[in-house]
Symmetry: C2
Subunit: 915 residues, 2 copies
Amino acid sequence: MPKYVYFFGEGKADGNAQMKALLGGKGANLAEMTNLGIPVPAGFTISTEVCRYYYEHDGAYPPELRQEVEAALSRMEKVMGARFGDSENPLLVSVRSGAAISMPGMMDTILNLGLNDETVQGLARRTADARFAYDCYRRFVAMYGDVVLGLKPREKDELDPFEVIMDAKKRARGVQYDHELSAQDLQELVQEYKEEIKKRLGVDFPQDPKEQLWGAIGAVFRSWNNPRAIAYRQLNGIPDDLGTAVNVQAMVFGNMGKTSGTGVAFTRDPATGEDVFYGEYLMNAQGEDVVAGIRTPQPINKRQKGDKDVLSLEEELPEVYQQLEEIRKKLDRHYRDMQDIEFTIQQGKLWMLQTRVGKRTGLAALRMAVDMVREGLITKEEAILRVEPDQLNQVLRPIFDPQQKRQAIAEGRLIAHGLNAGPGAATGRVVFNAPDAEQWAARGEEVLLVRIETSPEDIRGMNAAQGILTARGGMTSHAALVARQMGKVCVVGCGALEIDYKKRQMEVNGHTIKEGDYLSIDGATGEVIMGRIPTRPSEILQVLIERSMRPEESQIYGYYAELMSWADEARRLEVYTNADKPDQANIALAFGAEGIGLCRTEHMFFEGDRIDAVREMILAEDRAGREEALVKLLPMQKEDFKGIFRVMDGKPVTIRTLDPPLHEFLPNTPHEIEELARKIGVSEQQLRAKVEALHEANPMLGHRGCRLGIVYPEITAMQARAIFEAACEVAREGIKVYPEVMIPLVGDVKELRNQRRVVEEVAHEVFSRYGMEVEYKVGTMIEIPRGALTADQVAREAEFFSFGTNDLTQTTFGISRDDAGKFLRPYLEAGIWEFDPFEKLDRAGVGQLMEISVKKGRMSRPELKIGICGEHGGEPSSIEFCHQVGLDYVSCSPYRVAIARLAAAHAALKERRKD
Amino acid sequence: MPKYVYFFGEGKADGNAQMKALLGGKGANLAEMTNLGIPVPAGFTISTEVCRYYYEHDGAYPPELRQEVEAALSRMEKVMGARFGDSENPLLVSVRSGAAISMPGMMDTILNLGLNDETVQGLARRTADARFAYDCYRRFVAMYGDVVLGLKPREKDELDPFEVIMDAKKRARGVQYDHELSAQDLQELVQEYKEEIKKRLGVDFPQDPKEQLWGAIGAVFRSWNNPRAIAYRQLNGIPDDLGTAVNVQAMVFGNMGKTSGTGVAFTRDPATGEDVFYGEYLMNAQGEDVVAGIRTPQPINKRQKGDKDVLSLEEELPEVYQQLEEIRKKLDRHYRDMQDIEFTIQQGKLWMLQTRVGKRTGLAALRMAVDMVREGLITKEEAILRVEPDQLNQVLRPIFDPQQKRQAIAEGRLIAHGLNAGPGAATGRVVFNAPDAEQWAARGEEVLLVRIETSPEDIRGMNAAQGILTARGGMTSHAALVARQMGKVCVVGCGALEIDYKKRQMEVNGHTIKEGDYLSIDGATGEVIMGRIPTRPSEILQVLIERSMRPEESQIYGYYAELMSWADEARRLEVYTNADKPDQANIALAFGAEGIGLCRTEHMFFEGDRIDAVREMILAEDRAGREEALVKLLPMQKEDFKGIFRVMDGKPVTIRTLDPPLHEFLPNTPHEIEELARKIGVSEQQLRAKVEALHEANPMLGHRGCRLGIVYPEITAMQARAIFEAACEVAREGIKVYPEVMIPLVGDVKELRNQRRVVEEVAHEVFSRYGMEVEYKVGTMIEIPRGALTADQVAREAEFFSFGTNDLTQTTFGISRDDAGKFLRPYLEAGIWEFDPFEKLDRAGVGQLMEISVKKGRMSRPELKIGICGEHGGEPSSIEFCHQVGLDYVSCSPYRVAIARLAAAHAALKERRKD
């Protein structure tokens, strides 16, 4: 015989915490708490099976259900010492949804069920509080009328019908707040609510509590398929056939006088992770009052109270507090994780209403995970999985002083939102161009660089700024990419900015921000706030990067280092970094990088007066002219590589040959062209013609990548010479050097063969000149679909593959990331995309090409080394995919290396769990 | 026992024409002719097996070879009545390469072998012509010195050493031409040549004819692997291990006096295909003299001579001519194909030296194929395969008067070459912008539109011009695409043009062409020729399109119609057309189109004052504003569709919803912006801001295709309304309408689902309003890799797929076709690409995605209709691939429909042959 109803009460429950699929999360945890001997108001859970039955049978229930519910109700009555529908001592119940996977606020709830014209009087008598009783009743009628009977506003702009009646009543009584209404007023309201229901729906509000109950149960099941819930499931990938359970539970009231109260608490501090009780409560109040924020809740204990001039629960009801403290310990140890609990004190008696795993800050997650291992509660593997990789960001990046930020928002200084492209907090004076940023910073100002969008020429200005804010661009726009590379705070795509470069000011939702005004941005949330908000640096950064703190001085660092050492044991993927300079490489090493997966040689081209030589090369009329200019670049590139090789001693350094189209190195504005023409001694007209000739309709798909090296092999040769000469010279210093030369944008094996030959010839020549050899690899980026599709051929010439998933995403989707902003939001809103594919790897398309490449590549060359160096290499879900398809390493920006290490450990552990 | 040497001579040969793999083409045909009783100088062929043996054994021969060669040589001596190395009656031989697949000019040849200081005197005596004998000898020594002994210029710029000696001799004798030297001079030259060989190589020129022979055989085998030959094979996909045969054949001389001569001829007229003998000859000359063009050859017969004041072979040597005429018939009937033959008459005796299948014009190919079926020589299937689909172009397009073109080139008026983008010949006065083209044409001028590149706004000007010439762009640039669509003559990417729009002139390799100057372009060759060259239209066009000729009046049309009817029986693929307007559709129908595979709605947007409504829609601030503008466009689009539906009665019409990014419809220049701002009553600044806001970094990957319809569903809805209202109204006229709505640029099934819903809602609404239903389909273009990779999902919402291989090529390669010009040529030259992938479908990458799509698509929906509407749909090798992977149809521009029909037949027949 099937069982549909699971009772809990008086220390015994039919269910337990393992039965979430059947009882939903809420029901399973109520059962578990009951079994633990924790005081839980009695009740029962109707299983998710009934929900599925309900939908499969056009809203009918299994025949056995009614009897089971009746039986469970009787047990509730016995346990609670009250009777459903009794006019003297009525049992009131709540009816709540509860799915296996939490869908907060998506489904319906009915409270105070069981009240009618008679039982309300019983409640009034027993509580000696008519106002309380009628307030419960009028809330119930309104809730029932809305949720079960469906009395909702007819038009979008119409007010809630019950609100309208309430407002009229308050006006009639000349009062402002609900609680100013008398018992009599509330009783009248009940009557008026019922009349409205009759008038508008043609049905009577049911007086029979059983009828009420079945009405509510049906409403909760139906709410599983309301449009909001369907959309939520679609968005979160929750299967539609899981169904919800229904929890019917005895009501308890925290608003029954001075020894009643209600509160929420965490079994550890959710902000710091410390193993202390942390919570808030309100005396003589209902749960919704705590949430609503009309009254200020009190701290739960003296520790938390500090020197504030309020009472804590510990002081007000010491026995209850003691009981609660024991429950918190029990739950914390039992669940072996921090719990978020809800409790109600009804006339001095404590009732627990909910327990679930609580949300926490990154710091708390880190600390609790490590602490719980130390406490013997969880294994190292569990600890690793307890910290979401992205949460590490929070302990690595500078943050605003929370107090001051809250105040700024309260003062209405939050003026816009952009995309949270580079986490951390930054505050500074606004400048609108890169040279200003450099100059202001040079004279000691904190500046915030605000641009419509950024370009490679802005790099030094970006570096000088505290943070970068742009009006255009997505999560992988130039600004976002460079900022993450530099570890800069960055907010991009903030459409509300109307920047006027000429006037050196901008309009933002009606506020005018002028050059020099202070502005603050939160790169973790995308918030843009007027004025200055002080920031504080992360301890871990102080230890690892700034070295302004010794490791043993920082507790946070200790937790971080311990968890990361466990993660390193667990993971299989290696973690490299994308770094163009020794200082970036140093930061990445501090975060645990095991190699450089992408060193972009072109970023070096903008440094100092190198750009002159670069431009000379581009503007040369023939190969001889280009070679003459390249000779000037050679020693500079060589020095760059030497610096990086020294820092990366013993670790592989993957260097990509020139990638961007040449026009990126040329000036654009008439003024710049005039200046350059004078400098290099050609006519403006000639220069303009050259700039014009290099113009491309679609530069992303233009003359770039290996296409440059094939047409101008002398460029590849110069770069190879710089690499190998640097390698030889540094190797002579006793440093181990492993250069890996990476040819970009390969779509055909013949491209790679061509460039590989150039590289090998130079290597041979340099080695014989230096009389020594350095071990090196030649490989390619897989970043266009044709390269992926023909990976078996490409692998014949490649010793390694590195997925350039930025470009691979662009070409696979046929979407320019610079232009995607125009339809990204509509696409996300219409549910066409579940996420921005430039942020998180698209497994169905881009991922499919990666799988094809890995399979075909290793078919031709089983020992092929395969990694990823696109932005996705630092994104946890993408890293999981990289692990799954068998990559050897991921490479990400220096500040994401630790996150990637943790994500790689997650991927490995999740895979192990599946096995 | 293996056999390595195949003798031929005196009516009997060891080999035959089927043995090409073993004997090479030349050897097999010499054997075949011998067997046919045709007089062929005796000789033998050393098989390709020996070549393979030679390379596998480091240049050694099979042990049996020497004996076999000796035996064959003896038979030759007997047959020819002369002896190798005999001082009285020496046998001289030629030693030539000959591979299974012709590699013209790639390998080496030695003539007059067998001459030495003694035999030369014998030859002189027997021919009574010492000058002749020593001329043969000095040629042989030079050839042998070069080819066998390897005496070549030491440096790139050095002259041929034998040339240097020859030049010195001529200077010493004070003569200008070789033939002015005396026998004595030539004898001295032989001596000097030999001394040079000794001096520079340290070896003696071998006097032993046997040693000469083996030296020559080895040299020919070695020439199989000279760099030129290797490159040629790589380029033409010829396997490296086929090897060459060596043909040793008795020399015969056409320069032995007045009854000697030499000639080349075709067994039918290679220009017209007529079954008449066509050829040229020179009396008292060697083969190379005919080719060299120093003397003007004579016509072979009276028919060909016409009223020219020369003698023909028919008159000069009537008996020989009669014999030759019989041979031509025999060869033509025997080989069942037109042969290209070489003959020599030595002192009145005719010798045949070569026969092979001859090259022919498109017209000749067509006529001969049909004639040979009528003559019972070949089957219809063979006839179809005899005409290369692209050859049809030649019979469809206007051509220059050949006489006048030749003269123009002789006058040095050929000034540049571009890409042959739109075949045919055009001549006209140069204009540099589209409005001028229209105006000049309106007043009756023939104009040639010359632009740096063209844009959609130039369309009317292009239509008005005789032809289009651009400086930039590849085979699928806008100009090329539109020209082919319109059937316009077009040459693109002519880099030599330096156009100055302001001065209204251009510089072309030192020539200045001004507006109004006459210029001629040959779209079949890419030639750009100064001045006017008269053109003549194709007869088939006069019959099919212009209707200025009745079918029965044109013999060429008759041939065309017959061949095409056979092709239609043979093919499986249907052939649709890409047509945006009724007149284009009409042309396509005349060429046999069976539906429209791509009707681009946006081309309609530029017509007349529609562009105003389009711009109003783009510039609208909100949906209401856009809808207001769309209401104006609706009736116009509807009329367009009605026109097309009427023309296409009973055939499917695939209409693509709006595809290009909206900024393509907005003006660019300040002047145009000013004008438009005034017209629509907004400020210039506002308009400029909007233009700026719509600007895209990579428009190809931007906000276009279905991305437009998703963000602005009202555009899709308007277009669907126009389609279905048109369909209903035309259906009421009794016309059968099959609209197929095609959603472009789909990368995710959800995009298609979204747009499909919009289309279906409109269809439902229109049908219920009209009280009728029209059968229709909704499908998608597969033109970005993600769409292809997820085709199984996409097919759930698509009733048809149409491959947009232009965009699919761009995204699969990550190459913008607008920008590919910068590296296309270097890529082709470096052998990285074997062809331009925008012209010919890339099977390895793009084709792989097509195969994936077909497989996955039909997995989800077995009845899925699949076609192609990219430019490749009209390219024969791409059509073959479409057939192979199982497409249902190809769609191409109207003027390529016949070509596609023929190519489809080829594909089907080739497949059948394989089975």
